[in-house]
């Protein structure tokens, strides 16, 4: 299903848990943007994502307003999940039905009335770029690991939903090649907002929103000043994930598992 052209999503300020107004003027999100959201537990990260997901209009607990192309979006866009330009994937998002991967994708393709039959295979191929644990069309959805499930749901959001805006709530944990996910989302020109505790992911974004006490405390725009650190921690991250894979494979880690930067 085609969405009407969305050029900008604008988030207008609300208030903190203590009632004080947020200090930013507006946060604009365009295709290809990557924004990360960081902050301690309970600081309002998920509430921020939820505001976008429901297109808040001053009627959520935060009092924020979210506009599409500078205006209040039409009801239909907000209410019908098939017309919503947003895909939200959280750690809890699952396929509950006892279907195979292929049947699950078929169900979604059918619901969207997409005639293109190659879409299912394309989704599985893309999902396999996101995870090292191979996903096959014949596997049952309920037997997929957390990493496989999230990889498939992100691939589904890109290829089947074609949602221009993707919200990810702490999806990085375990079994997912996060850098592949980010580069694929970038390649597909998605606007992405992700809540994360992962240093690599946080540094991969162009802007970083810092939350505190229910409010946006600041918006950091590193403009390249973190590139060197990003290179270093990406290296460390690769070392760690390599070790993780070796431990999972049953090895004894007697050497250092590769150069530590």
């Amino acid at each position: 299903m085609e969405h009407f052209a969305i050029t900008t999503i604008t988030i207008l300020p609300g208030r903190a848990k203590d009632g004080r107004s947020e200090s930013f003027k507006e946060i604009a999100l365009r295709a290809g943007d990557m924004i990360s959201i960081v902050g301690p537990t309970g600081s309002g990260k998920t509430a921020f994502i939820n505001d976008i997901e429901v297109f808040a209009s001053g009627d959520t607990v935060t009092g924020r307003t979210v506009l599409v192309n500078g205006e209040v979006p039409p009801d239909e866009m907000v209410r019908d999940p098939a017309k919503k330009p947003i895909a939200l994937i959280t750690q809890n998002t699952k396929c509950l039905a006892d279907l195979t991967v292929l049947e699950f994708l078929e169900m979604h393709v059918k619901a969207r009335r997409i005639a293109d039959n190659s879409r299912m295979a394309e989704t599985i191929r893309l999902a396999n770029e996101f995870t090292g644990e191979k996903i096959a069309g014949t596997m049952r959805m309920t037997s997929l690991s957390g990493g496989q499930t999230r990889s498939l749901l992100i691939a589904d959001a890109i290829t089947v939903s074609s949602a221009p805006i993707i919200l990810l709530d702490e999806v990085e944990s375990g079994g997912i090649f996060k850098e592949n996910v980010i580069s694929s989302l970038k390649k597909n020109n998605k606007a992405v907002i992700f809540v994360t505790h992962d240093p690599v992911l946080a540094l991969l974004s162009d802007r970083r929103i810092v939350m505190r006490n229910g409010a946006v405390e600041k918006i950091l725009e590193p403009n390249g000043c973190e590139t060197k650190i990003l290179g270093q921690i990406s290296g460390m991250d690769r070392v760690l994930s390599d070790m993780r894979e070796r431990i999972r494979a049953g090895e004894l880690l007697t050497d250092n598992g590769g150069p530590v930067p």
């Binding site: 509430a47 209009s57 209410r79 999940p81 699952k94 619901a111 589904d156």
Partner: protein, 235 residues
């Protein structure tokens, strides 16, 4: 006074939705709450404590809870009106998916859990078909594909019902429910309120405690294995 009737299976999140209504509307309306259940219910005590509103409960015991709800509803309206309530919320036990406790001059709200699976709306047809609004809860837990299919299934059962997806714990999406409540008319004449449809309500002999198996031991509406139609036998 406005009348809201909540139905929906156990654990669908009826009370979570009611909580959000109380949270959002308590400042502008005086709300009374009635819970109908079979043997135990705690919602009335919890809501009374949390929101300091008048609440009551009725146990149906051996009788069908929706049947009980309909029998006591007129009294409940009088009770809430005497208190000066602006809204009366009635929450059903939600045990029998064949029942439709909705009435005229009220807003009928069915609460369905998305976790129930995409076929669940088809199994609860009578409870959904006559509702004005279907609130689908726990949508944060399911995949986008299932979210879309769930909505289609509800549409299949009730083409005109207003569907509202929510994560009721956070209250996302419920603005449309609040809007509907703000815009709904008040009860015009409580004595004219009737059930919206012909519900399959029955106080059957099994509900009333007769344990024998086989239709020969029962009365009321009966079924035989080979008989195509229901048969009625009085006692």
């Amino acid at each position: 006074m406005k009348l809201l009737i909540f139905a929906g299976p156990p654990s669908a999140g009826k009370t979570a939705v009611v909580r959000q209504i109380l949270r959002q509307l308590a400042g502008e309306s005086f709300i009374a709450f009635l819970k109908i259940d079979v043997v135990r219910a705690f919602e009335d005590e919890e809501l009374k404590k949390e929101f300091e509103i008048p609440t009551r409960k009725v146990y149906s015991g051996d009788v069908c809870p929706d049947h009980t709800g309909i029998l006591v509803l007129r009294d409940a309206i009088a009770w809430a009106e005497d208190l000066g309530a602006g809204i009366l919320i009635v929450e059903s036990a939600g045990l029998c998916l064949r029942c439709t406790p909705y009435t005229t001059q009220s807003l009928g709200i069915v609460v369905l859990s998305a976790v129930g699976g995409t076929n669940s709306p088809l199994k609860m047809t009578p409870m959904i078909a006559l509702a004005d609004i279907a609130v689908v809860t726990k949508v944060d837990l399911i995949s986008q594909a299932e979210k879309e299919v769930f909505r289609e299934r509800v549409r299949e059962v009730a083409p005109r019902v207003d569907i509202i997806e929510t994560n009721a714990v956070h209250g996302t999406g419920l603005r449309y429910l609040l809007k509907a409540i703000r815009n709904m008319p008040e009860i015009l004449c409580a004595d004219d309120i009737v059930l919206k449809g012909m519900p399959p309500l029955a106080v059957c002999t099994i509900c009333a405690g007769k344990k024998e198996i086989g239709w020969q031991h029962h009365f009321g509406i009966l079924k035989t294995l080979d008989g195509a139609d229901d048969l009625y036998r009085g006692e």
